[in-house]
Symmetry: C2
Subunit: 98 residues, 2 copies
Amino acid sequence: MGSDLVGVLAVLASPQRLRLIAALAGGSNYVSQLARELQLSRPLVHMHLRRLEEVGLVVGRMELSADGKAMRFFDVAPFAFQLTPEAIQDAVRTMEEK
Amino acid sequence: MGSDLVGVLAVLASPQRLRLIAALAGGSNYVSQLARELQLSRPLVHMHLRRLEEVGLVVGRMELSADGKAMRFFDVAPFAFQLTPEAIQDAVRTMEEK
DNA sequence: GACACGTGTCAGTCGTAACTTACACATGTA
DNA sequence: TACATGTGTAAGTTACGACTGACACGTGTC
């Protein structure tokens, strides 16, 4: 479990996904609301959040609202990656040994 | 000069480019040699190095070999990015103010 | 029932980065 | 001369992620 740097970078290399993380850094939120705030279609937000969750950058939870609607809230995971030539060298080494 | 995080991430999100950085972290090298070592076509290496250089992750220099050939050597720049939700939040803020 | 809100997913289209092949240009050596 | 090495770039294909629209499914309210 070296928290796959190359995978994380691939997911992080998207303006929209960065905007999603930035939005979630301001507090947890749910899919439809995020779509409205960021001016994106809901399926698109859904897809981006899924990819972010796959690499563990955000965590999602189901929650029932007061009026009984099932809503999917997301939070940012408290990640911290150090991005240096050496870190990349290690990541690539790990990557290439199968 | 906020060293554009989103641009850097976009460039860094490529297995091949990560391999290039890893290779260069082991010492400076030139295009054709890198292509051989990483098993990539030379134009492809050329393109990836150009993108890496555009965001300042590597630096290239022209050098004349002993037998008079013009060779393009590259070195990794000593970068260090801290990748956290807060850093992304700042980067996005900078990104959105035009 | 019709509507508003939430969830999820599937089938497409579209744009672009990745990649290859081929070209042009240098130099030094057999 | 021909061939090896190096450089750069332009044209074309291809693979893939991004994105939209439509669908199905829930709930509570008018």
